[in-house]
């Protein structure tokens, strides 16, 4: 498949302001969309999606979406579903943290070096989901 023909994958973090896990979801998303795969991925404002902004709703309906939630309320996942978005995967930072409890996430504003390290681990999980999406897309192109 040509790079140009690939749809951009949307990564949507919850960005919850009350918990450091919201910050981790946001930071992990930026690692992917800004540093690792800027040409293949993008993000949109979750509040814009939830208030029903037409352009944002269209985007999540047309592109595969990976939601990255910070808490069990799963706002990002639920909002994509409510907008009839193409939700491909849903990651939960708190669940992922269970395997990395030794890393200290400092605070909402400054997650600290270990928090940043954990955000990079979450970014790795996002990349795994992106690979799955690309494999699915390739399968669709192979004639049966």
């Amino acid at each position: 498949m040509n790079q140009e023909k690939k749809e951009k994958i949307l990564v949507i973090p919850c960005s919850g302001i009350g918990k450091p896990s919201g910050t981790i979801s946001r930071l992990a998303t930026y690692y992917v969309v800004e540093d690792l795969l800027p040409k293949e991925t993008d993000t949109v404002c979750l509040p814009l999606l939830v208030i029903g902004d037409e352009k944002t709703c269209q985007l999540v309906q047309q592109s595969p979406v990976i939601a990255v939630d910070g808490c069990p309320s799963k706002c990002a996942t639920k909002s994509v579903q409510a907008s009839q978005g193409k939700l491909f995967a849903s990651l939960n930072v708190l669940q992922l943290y269970r395997d990395h409890l030794q890393l200290e996430v400092k605070s909402v504003v400054d997650p600290g070096p270990e928090g940043e390290k954990f955000a990079r681990i979450v970014a790795g999980k996002i990349l795994e989901e992106i690979s799955k999406i690309r494999k699915e897309e390739e399968k669709c192109l192979i004639p049966s």
Partner: protein, 137 residues
């Protein structure tokens, strides 16, 4: 101080733009400045997703919104679900006024941090004003 003086702060936190990052950093700077148990952040996505507890809190207490851009998601959301913000701030407006532009969505840079400081001052002033007047005005 009684619970009746709690003030809810709602930041847009928009992921798409650096101003969304400024909004959340400004809120936390205001928290640091005030060191007050009277201010509470409300998670906008949770509020929008229909979490009853978040909505009731906003109905019952004065709210200050901080939006990143002219789309004003935070302010619109509060009004849509029956709240009336006591004060509203839009980061992009203050950015134009001050000429301070954040560097990126991840790293605000010197100017972005200064912009967040200015907005934090505004939030702090507003919260102090609301608290001094009381909630039942």
């Amino acid at each position: 101080m009684s619970n009746s003086k709690l003030v809810s702060i709602v930041a847009c936190s928009g992921e798409e733009i650096p101003e969304g990052t400024v909004s959340r950093v400004a809120v936390w700077k205001a928290f640091g400045k005030l060191m007050s148990p009277n201010i509470v952040t409300t998670c906008l996505p949770l509020f929008l997703a229909g979490q009853q507890q978040e909505r009731e809190f906003v109905w019952m207490h004065p709210t200050v919104t901080i939006d990143g851009c002219e789309k004003r998601c935070a302010e619109r959301a509060i009004r849509k679900f029956g709240g009336t913000p006591k004060a509203t701030f839009v980061v992009s407006d203050i950015e134009k006024e001050t000429g301070l532009t954040p560097k990126s969505r991840v790293y605000l840079g010197e100017k972005g941090e200064k912009l967040a400081d200015i907005i934090a001052e505004k939030i702090t002033g507003e919260v102090e004003r609301i608290c001094s007047k009381g909630n039942k005005e």
